[in-house]
Symmetry: C2
Subunit: 283 residues, 2 copies
């Protein structure tokens, strides 16, 4: 499992790869990726300014760092990931924002290194679609949540990914990510979004403890599209090129993907979307 | 074209089919189907209480009637559909709400029977996915819009439809609606959502005149699910049964679809979703 994670994009050290890759890995913030949770955080903070928030599978840590800003200096965030190599990057990002109320720790969501009832908020983003047993993971996240606290998760339903216009390089990229050996190596499911509510119920939670909402990601906004396109191109052209060749893409495929992704982002009529499901579970 | 429309569900006279079917055809309101447009309407109404709104392809007219409530008694709504048979139902629905600032007219979106610059707001919901030339339709809608007015449209991307859990009858329903002869007879496209912005640009509008947003439909809310399930079952079991048999479903298929749709709605973990794109175009 740890090996799989090492193979993933999260293992890329974005700090060495310049501004485009840095932006790609850190453009996710609590504001664009966990907006559904912010009103709840604000409410909980009113009642208790010393909130403890655990972010699981946090990758580059940009969502965690913005959570730390939102819950304020009296609150505390623990940012975790299975891959130790990614945590120094998360730490550097938090430092770049001047965020101090945060710590970093290697952790497996199936066996979290924390006592029962340790956190007010336990959060993950795009995690359950990549692991083997989301129900066990949810149970473990609930275990370390204080009574009265919440577990929050947002999962894309990757089968609903839409790319318009369907330029040939983008179709290749979609097939590479979703239909090739890469998806098999990484495990998980492409339909996490639609199953999220069912998983929470299976983890033993009652329906009236769960708040469900739905959203989309990305948008057709020019700035977001360019961050995405430049990031993919730089990573695929650079550190991930060797992997991509091993997983069945040719040199020409990679060039076409990079070229079409940038051309796509530059068009006024282009869109890249995916359905997202969000749950907030009260313990 | 008019013939196709006559074959569609809109031609069902829901007034004869009881409460379940009535609710199915009228559960769409401006609040749940055009929420993206309401702030714009409120703002325009502040400036001009005598707004004129055209609703195109309005079917059972429940969205039109709630628009009439929102723009208020000094405003006026013209509710149109290609199928003359549906308009008495729309009229009856508006009457049931006590809405008086509304009129009803047969109209083809490709050739609207109105002068240039006649309306402040021209709206349609789930129309472009069912017609042959959405760009021409958009041009025609823009023609009858006053300078300074808006054209608003919301289109589902039907290829992203998600049904969970995937009960066998629901899979059959999905295939019947999307992959069978029905879809071919009705024409149109399953990917309207992702193309909506591109169509607007093709109709000659500049990118900075267009506000784009994205949403989902339906939800996992119990009440909505039941309205949907009871409506489908009653219609498919009743007036549309003959059509369904002609289009390749068997008696057993229909029974299974009705049974599984109701079972699906009754489950706590069930979800039915589709990506939606919304645009507001300023003329």
């Amino acid at each position: 499992m740890a090996e799989d994670k090492e193979k993933s994009a999260a293992a890329v050290d974005y700090r060495k790869l310049g501004k485009d890759v840095f932006e790609f890995f850190t453009h996710r913030t609590a504001y664009n990726s966990a907006a559904y949770l912010i009103p709840t955080l604000e409410r909980m903070k009113q009642e208790n300014p010393r909130l403890r928030l655990l972010d699981v599978g946090a990758g580059a840590g940009s969502v965690s760092a913005t959570f730390a800003q939102i819950i304020g200096p009296e609150g505390h965030v623990v940012c975790t990931d299975l891959a130790p190599s990614v945590l120094p990057q998360a730490e550097a990002f938090a430092e770049s924002l001047g965020v101090k109320n945060i710590e970093f720790k290697t952790a497996d969501v199936h066996q979290l290194p924390f006592e029962n009832d340790s956190f007010d908020v336990v959060h993950c983003h795009q995690l359950f679609g990549h692991i083997k047993d989301p129900v066990a993971a949810l149970r473990e996240m609930l275990r370390v949540t204080k009574p009265g606290g919440v577990v929050a998760a947002r999962e894309g339903d990757r089968e609903t990914e839409i790319i318009w216009p369907p330029l040939p390089g983008l179709k290749k990229w979609h097939e590479y990510v979703f239909d090739s050996k890469v998806a098999q190596v990484h495990g998980g499911t492409l339909t996490a979004g639609r199953q999220l509510l069912a998983w929470a119920l299976e983890a033993g939670v009652k329906r009236n403890q769960i708040e469900v909402s739905y959203g989309t990601w990305l948008t057709s906004e020019e700035a977001t599209k360019m961050v995405y396109a430049r990031g993919i191109s730089k990573v695929l052209n650079g550190p991930s090129r060797k992997n991509a060749l091993q997983f069945g893409l040719t040199e020409e495929d990679i060039d076409e993907i990079c070229r079409d992704t940038l051309a796509w982002a530059d068009r006024e009529d282009s869109t890249w979307l995916m359905l997202q499901t969000e749950i907030i579970v009260r313990k």
